[in-house]
């Protein structure tokens, strides 16, 4: 029913603690299926929201869709994998200590931030004044470059690998037959914490005010003394850090990471972009809402309708939203003046 590998640890398989009493002997009840789907939806929705935030921030500032964003997620996932494996190799021991996770996360975020900063300076900055479609093609080029360079044997290689399990699998508590494990809590929790930090950053700090100013009107913001170049670079870096966190959470949850040029990554990025559009592209809160919406749609569609068409549901929603309400849920419609 659910396509993502859920419990595929390579070392050992743990059995979830079953509740002692279940009112449903045999088969899952409808409530349980609903709760399970809801849990999956929230998990994947928080991932989509993190990635969608990167898209929406870059679009808000530069009015261009950063096609290469999904590749930063891949980068984050692979860097987390390599770092975690390396750290565990150095520190020794079978199971990861609790401090390994945050360290890996920070390393991944910093590395992706640095790479994204370089990309922005080298590839996007010369095109600030170019027609938007030129920048779009450049973004496609950057995306291809990142994918294929990542696939070189010197970097990540072309075969899927698994990360060492950073957290235990035990169920912390269960609602009915639905087990909520440490991985789930940490995953959604980290995403929520990062989103709260971003919300604080964008709406309650001076830098955030600068970002919003640049997104409203770049030239006048520059006239008001906002260092536009630095703000744009910072936006890219922030988006990349969130994407890296998304990649790390993906690695945490799904363990097996496919090669960088695999289509599943681009699909993930596309769905996150759909989430950004649905919430209102350019709108930070909209991206969070959109991520949740897409997660709900995908998981409930897969569970209750047909799991093989779940991509079609998401793209179908995109087309419907673009036709009916292109400004998204929280966006404001801009009337084009002639």
């Amino acid at each position: 029913m659910h396509e993502y590998p859920r419990y595929s640890r390579t070392r050992e398989t743990r059995v979830f603690a079953k509740p002692l009493y279940s009112w449903n002997k045999g088969g899952t009840s409808r409530v349980d299926q609903f709760l399970q789907t809801l849990k999956d939806a929230v998990t994947i929705g928080s991932l989509y929201a993190l990635i969608a935030l990167g898209y929406t921030m870059v679009y808000g500032i530069l009015k261009f869709i950063n096609f290469a964003h999904s590749d930063v997620v891949v980068l984050g996932a692979w860097i987390s994998l390599l770092t975690a494996n390396k750290v565990l190799q150095l520190a020794g021991g079978e199971h990861a200590a609790p401090w390994v996770g945050p360290v890996v996360l920070v390393v991944a975020m910093l590395a992706c931030g640095a790479i994204s900063f370089t990309i922005e300076r080298l590839a996007y900055k010369p095109l600030r004044k170019a027609p938007r479609l030129n920048v779009l093609i450049t973004a496609i080029g950057v995306s291809l470059f990142l994918q294929n360079t990542g696939q070189l044997s010197a970097f990540f290689g072309t075969s899927p690998r698994s990360i060492v399990p950073l957290l235990g699998d035990q169920a912390v508590f269960s609602i009915g037959l639905v087990d909520v494990s440490t991985v789930d809590i940490v995953g959604v929790g980290t995403a929520v914490v990062l989103m709260i930090v971003l919300e604080w950053l964008v709406f309650h700090t001076k830098l955030g005010r600068a970002m919003r100013a640049v997104s409203y009107d770049t030239r006048n913001a520059a006239l008001m003394g906002v260092p536009v170049d630095r703000v744009i670079s910072f936006t890219f870096v922030a988006g990349a850090m969130l994407a890296a966190a998304g990649g790390f959470l993906w690695a945490l949850r799904f363990v097996v990471i496919k090669q960088p040029a695999d289509t599943s990554w681009t699909l993930l990025g596309l769905k996150a972009f759909v989430a950004a559009v649905v919430g209102g592209i350019g709108n930070v809160r909209g991206a969070m809402l959109g991520g949740l919406a897409i997660g709900l749609l995908e998981m409930f569609g897969a569970a209750y309708l047909s799991s093989s068409y779940k991509d079609v549901y998401v793209f179908g929603l995109l087309i419907i939203v673009l036709l009916v309400r292109p400004s998204g849920l929280l966006g404001k419609a801009i009337v084009e003046k002639v």
């Binding site: 010369p126 479609l133 779009l136 093609i137 450049t138 068409y309």
Partner: protein, 475 residues
Amino acid sequence: MSSLSQSANRLSPGFAKATLGGLWPIALGITLAACLQVFIKPHIDAYYALIALNIGVNIVLAVSLNIVNGFTGQFSIGHAGFLAVGGYAAGAVTYYGSICLFGSADVHGGLLSGMPMDTEGLAFLGSGDALFLVALIVGGLVAALAGLLVGLPSLRLRGDYLAIVTLGFGEIVRVLLQQTDTLIKRSVGSETAEQFAQRVRDTPWWQLPKSVGGALGFTDLPKYTSLFWVYALVAVMLIVAFRLKESSYGRAFLSIREDEIAAESMGVNTTRYKVWAFVIAAFFAGMAGGLFAHQLGTSLSPVNAGFQKSFDIIIMVVLGGLGSISGATLAAIILTIIPEWLRGVELQTSTIFVLIGLTLLAVGVLKVYRARAIAKKTGIEDRSARRRAIGPALGLILISQYFFRGHLPAALQTTINLGEYRMILYALILIIMMIARPKGLFGVRELWNIGPWAKKARVASQNAGGIVPTQGGAA
């Protein structure tokens, strides 16, 4: 007075003359393609024939995408979806039609379809060829229908959003194709050909288009594609594209590209022309897909509808220059030949550094000269001279390391097979081109607009600094 009526008659010829006048280039093209197949193909190696087939298919794909991206300025990156839809439709007609009509899914064509010369009862075109032609046209029409479906949402979408919707369309096509049923194949050993043909004839008609192979791809297609079919389509495509560009439709497309709002206020029905662009491009892409499917018989699979193939086509169009038919053709030829050529090329790392160094040196020196010329002309002092010297200096350093190549660290002394790095090279070419020369090879101009004929074209190309002007005006 009589000369006036004579010239009036000349300007508006009768029906027969107009039709013949319009059709002779197409007839010429098809005849040339037939000559290619009959006289030249037997003398060339099969490998080169395959490359020529690929070149032809890529030309049609690139020029058809150019109609949407280049003439009309809409950014469509799901072109491979049309390719796949057309290929699958044509394949279904050929495969099941061949079984129902001829009893088996082999090639029943004639000389022009690549049958060897010593087959008995050989004609130029066999009965299978008629089926193949019908299949191609059906493929084109089905793809045109898909183009209509994609073109309709484009009414309300601009630029980036349309790009995403077309990308999503390609993915939807891929997913839907993966969900189709498996191909109805003959169980070898337990079923004779007649029994199998009867079984296919007995299946309900709506089941046949659903059984096109699913995720395994559409295999076992008869190999009808030959140089004749491909280059006949290339001839038709080029003539149609050229005539389209010069016609009133073409002018409408170009006006939509330049400034959609101005075009709308001048009375151009942008909706209608944008949808037409998609439909025409999709039709030809579908026919190219049909040719692609029957080339090796096994190459059609849902992954061909994905963005990887779409990007291949986009790179060709962008490299050639959006809006230029000859540019797209040339770029398609170059970008089909280069990967094949690169596959056999093995270079030492130090040689690659030398090449990079030479490029940096050449570009850097050119830039320095140009800056000096501008400084002399305008009288303004050139302050970035030092920064500009970094490029050539780095180039010289890289070139000089060639003489020390024996002493480089071991990691840098490897031989690199360039074929593996093809996609990275493509990506770098795309990025560098967008920064340095976004117009591509030809820009908006055609091959015949350069050089002595460039006078008329200079005005047209001045506005084409980029691909689509920003909303504020020309780039």
